[in-house]
Symmetry: D4
Subunit: 251 residues, 8 copies
């Protein structure tokens, strides 16, 4: 569409219907709105294939509500992550239809019909990683993927992982969520033939240094095909998974 609009503009110039100066100006302008604190990018859905996702952390309730409304008024689905329960309480009255998921700390308003472009498996190493797992699982769901959860199949009892393997290997993308030493990513990637996205978590203490140990372990995975996102970034992993799952249908 972007190219189409430029073409239209050029055609209009060609027909003499648009002045040179005006065309020059409009060529520099891509549509966005300015809410005063955040320019929302309606083009994003076209350009990237997904709506802009609202990251709530560090924003005031007024900022969250304002951005959320504009996204919805633009006709897009809304996905808002890193939203603490109190923050959602402060905005829920202004966003009717918003569904809040407490463990995943996110809310969503779905306008479009659900899709299931591919299957994403969320594989996890410990109960304390659940919030990150749920952020990944729910984001993958809202971004259009089918999701299966395989929590607590950590490497300290490798037989648990092996017993779940037949299901896990059916996935199109495997998201491995693990804190502490992050070894699960390597073990899973050594068995899998699907892309593996590793999410280090800040779960741990002492020399885990807020997730640094798991992050470094995952980056150094001896098993090929592992890529890594930021510590605790369940959304980022889900987003990348959804992009991968969505590829074939887009060609």
């Amino acid at each position: 569409m972007h190219s189409d609009r430029i073409r239209e503009l050029l055609e209009s110039v060609s027909r003499g219907e648009t002045e040179i100066d005006e065309a020059l100006e409009r060529l520099r302008m891509l549509p966005f709105e300015d809410t005063g604190y955040a320019r929302i990018d309606h083009h994003r859905q076209l350009r990237r294939g997904f709506p802009e996702v609202l990251f709530c952390q560090g924003k005031t309730p007024e900022q969250i509500t304002g951005i959320a409304r504009r996204i919805l008024e633009g006709g897009s689905d809304l996905l808002a992550t890193r939203c603490a329960p109190e923050a959602f309480e402060a905005v829920r009255a202004d966003l009717p239809g918003a569904v809040y998921h407490e463990e995943g700390r996110l809310f969503a308003v779905r306008l479009s019909p659900p899709r299931e472009n591919g299957l994403v498996a969320i594989v996890s190493g410990g109960t304390a990683d659940r919030p990150v797992c749920e952020e990944a699982a729910l984001c993958a769901h809202y971004l259009g993927c089918a999701v299966e959860r395989h929590y607590d199949v950590g490497v300290a009892g490798i037989h648990r992982l092996l017993s779940s393997w037949e299901r896990i290997r059916a996935a199109d993308v495997i998201i491995v969520v693990a804190g502490m030493e992050g070894a699960l990513a390597s073990v899973v990637a050594g068995l899998a033939d699907a892309p593996v996205i590793a999410v280090p978590t800040s779960v741990g203490y002492g020399a885990s240094f807020g997730g640094l140990a798991a992050l470094l372990a995952m980056l150094n995975s001896c098993a090929g095909g592992v890529t890594v996102v930021n510590i605790d970034n369940g959304f980022g992993a889900a987003y990348a998974a959804a992009v991968i799952c969505g590829r074939p249908s887009r060609r």
Copy 2:
């Protein structure tokens, strides 16, 4: 196939053709050979979809030759990375047919016909990143992808990137290779609708801390869909890209 062989074994037990103790033993045995210094995993091609790749760094010429021959004798293609020119000189006589790529520091012996499962774009921010770019490009090629190189389209002159964009956006996976501040990954991911795999490089000096600055920048990318591999790990990015490209055809 693995399941098939277990099934066969159970059937043989069921028919009384195999002793219990022998079955017990064989159930634990998965085929591998022991060269004395490295067990080669011929099953890998079946399990992961790609042959084992030989990482030469830290290995003696004898070890490289030994492992390479076993892989080839097993009928697999051979891809050997991080091989310095002197190391290749020391093994080339023993590996007829091996093609060495100096800039990418790797060699390969291809037995199977080339495939082009998908298109991988290598996007790069500087001349000094070339060796990592070439490792990524050549590995993607040998792992069965078509490859396009877009080198030196860094963010310090954003117009260069924009002018190449129409080609880049056609790719199934975009690998962004950048040292220094690694900003290129965010800019590309902000424009792209394909999966973006970021490779930080150790190019830089001072506070780049051997690639740490680029690594952290890429992990913190404000643009969704970026996943990251280890510093200078062109192979890792290519491997992940090949896994993603190969998925659709495998379903």
Copy 3:
């Protein structure tokens, strides 16, 4: 036993009492239960010689209670570490028989008779290290060792340590707990002929960097025979000590 059960299964297949497909399935299945948030590994006591230990930090009271009950219902002793007083208050009504140790932040339910497989000495460098010391001492006790406490025998007054030495050297394993500069581990290991397990603590300020200084010092100990666990990981040291103490009797 694991091998025995597989043998039984194979024998059953051999006798035609079990179908191939069922055997195939059961070969992949190792017994575990799924509570919805954490799969409990009853086999652990068999495989590792100790029951699974419940790490409470980061878990909700419901999760703690749920996992604890399953462990107890499986007939194992229960040991639950890193449990804050408020967390224990929230679960104590549901876990009759649980004994809470405030300084060591753990609780236990003992079903089996106490054992004293060997003697573990806990040697400590400061009053502020007491919680970690007590975690180590109590865990070692519940995991079946006799325990002696030698607290506040730090290197700043080496004569204190020397005056307690005759007792300390009688131990089968010596656990050294120290924050700040962690020098106690080296001094003890220089004198001891028993295995020394060092636990760095996060006690200190400024350039102790949350225990990093003590951790690095212990890893670099100039005295042989020192092995190290994570910062503040009293449990880990006790577990390793119990494994060492339990070895001779198991042979």
Copy 4:
């Protein structure tokens, strides 16, 4: 003036009006007052061209009020940064005329007429960076510059930045405020011909390590002309910008 006063003193010595010992003593004395907790430097405005700025963080209300009054009594404008709302509440009664800016966490008392020595553009990558942006914008204003704000023009949607570019490039100094990966500084500096001062922010999570990722990225910027200040140091960037803007008029 400093040299003038020394000259006067020497002349007085020359005329025999001042004793040698007294002159010796006065040569060592530069005028300052001692409030008991902070010596205020009235000479600063002469020496550096700007009044001393009061950094409130870590100071008690009594200390803030005391220092602020002395500055005002010395006839200087007052600019007080890093002042939390509660801290301002505690001092506002004692500082009539003080204007508080909540988002920028600073207050000011202006005695001199406003100046607009040059134009400073504040360019920002995200809503959560607003407090740092406002600190920079307001400090630049009080230090005598015209200010334009271009917030939320981050690199994840490069078209937003490009569409604002015509305004941004008119600035005499561009201050780029960005957390996470800090890529905005490189993109802006690649386009700009004005000095670019980069302010990394502590906005982010996980591997942003409190702004370290953005700081390193900015220091490694591949685009020339970028200089960097401390994490979250909006004031420092504004001060440097004001020094640059004020230069031409001072010659």
Copy 5:
């Protein structure tokens, strides 16, 4: 000029002389050449006010010669930094007119007449910092500034700095180069009313950690108006200084 060419293109479309599709294509094209390994940005001089500077480190002699020639053929002055003596030996025959400065590790070819847009003072804390000082001084010179060198006026003998102060304070921009503890930047900035750009150097040993100590000290300077560039980045400081010096004349 850029806008002019777009205007011309639109006018040509308006006159019917250019096809829509061709215009669409050319709108995306900005002029650059592709040497195979590095696209040279001739527009840079227009956009940023300075020619592209060639960073030689990590480039082969062929790459250096190739890029250098293109820059010269484009009519720009050439400045090539981080060029080791051996590297210059390898390219000097191909670049007649190139002048090499050994201490500053750079070479240049000047086509345009020298300018002296402003005065840059290079202030330094130690003999071992000389290479970085010279890189800064020579780059500032070639980028069109007058330069004064004040080397070895470190804080360990503060009187040396004070005795040179009258000269230093005449500068339009002060570049402070210091390794070890980097205190010189704060002392200079406390006295100066010109912009101070601090360059930490990797000179030092032990806990200087390759310049990290000086870098952190400079970022935390208690004196306002200090901005910082990467460790050993004499060029970056000179570039920023030249941009600042060039501003007034450009308005």
Copy 6:
């Protein structure tokens, strides 16, 4: 005395008044008491020249009271550092005669007459460093030194320091307390001929990393004669200063 007591013991053995076994035992015993949580070292005053100092952080009120009483009952002066106001409130009733200093967060009970073995100057760079300064000043006082305070003579206004210099240089030991970039230590040491002990403080933000920047700067001081203690360790600096001051009189 230690040697004397061993001599006495040997003489007693020689005279047949003490049994061999008893002597053997007593040779290993050095006098200390065991309060259950901390062995107090009454010998310390003899061995080290100062009483044991009680570090309150991380200790319960019961532990503080218990240790404090034993020290006092042993006839020593009491100095208790890092004691928060609430902690002192909880123990004050049990420790009559204890004097609390809020800014220095310490309390003391003096039994011996005050001494002034030497003069310690406390030189400081900012109002926010006051708590650490006061800890140093008060500890030096209680450990037997005369103390002079020179606060807020930071490097950003070097003339303030120079104007106080005549007094500072009279000191036997100079303690420099500084956060942020810690440059004050180098400037003072460059001027001084007395030992300089540098105390980095955690005052600052961003890239000060909790005092790390100041610590590294002080360790890398280009001025000879600077030694450094832990971040915020005012007591440590005072203790070392008192040891130095006390030396001459002890010979």
Copy 7:
């Protein structure tokens, strides 16, 4: 024996055969020799159960020869680690009987008959870890243990490890040697009931940071019973293993 000698001395004093002063002196003397550069501790074998081990790195050939001879002349076995081939060449003529192991970089002279106190399994994740593995294996051998090597059973192909498991689990102590992400330690410890000692290696590149990634992963192992030694410290792991193996026989 130590106590016996003191007893003898006291008895001699008691009988009047030894002067008080002489006894006083001898009580302080423990036997050691002074070679001028290193005091050798012949008591060590008595006190710690093993002879002093000679760490060659950083020592001159003269120092190595000198220390080695004294150890041998004292009647102890000699084990000398971290000895590069050239260093051994320089000393071999002076140490007849010394056997050099190139891959493990160590040499030994055995005077006592070999022992096999227990079985140590060396489990390894990669060919490049061989030197560290061999240091561990050979040290364990010379310190009196039987040794089994299981190299290249890394987690990227978990089936290799499982197929070797029956042998590995027979060991008294398992030493796991792994670089990169170090996940092997967790997987092994999850399966094992013997003590697991983890040795991180510096094998890897980029974000392995010289073995830091593996070290952190091992310290954060989610599987109980793992203790850790310094990076590449094969000797340390072997020493600790030998201490553990030797315990039962010593009781």
Copy 8:
């Protein structure tokens, strides 16, 4: 003397013998010479009590010779540290009388008669620390102290230290040199009543991180009175020791 010269100048002004302008100028001038690369501070000996020490690392032979000659021509003793053997070879012909100490990597020319202001003990933990020990010992010697060496009395065999204690405790200042875990500083300071200056060394490997482990351990010493210098900074420790030793005689 400095004050005296100012007084003389003022008297000259008072007598009308010196012009105001000339006096003004000379008041700013402190005597120094400019060799072109390093201003030598002859006043230093007066101000700090010791001559300037020449740090050779990073300087060319010409620079070393030039600075050394000026120091000698100024009538001062010369002490030149961090001078590699090859560097000394290159300058020895130009500096007759210079004595080189290879292990301590320094040379000196003594013009003044030797002094022994106090006794400095150098206490060391390992043979590999010898170069740093010797730098400390020789510098202390040349700066006017008597020196005793107690090398290789590390904590791994605490009895060695105790047996040397009677001599060590006689020292006025104790310099503790230790790499690896640096525990020796705490043990010595716990016993000593003299000032203890700790020098961490870069001896070690793996997690010693070039001396960082020892540095942190020493900064966190639980024994009071320890101050620390930079890694491997034997000179710095000696200089501080000499300043402390020289104090009493200077009063």
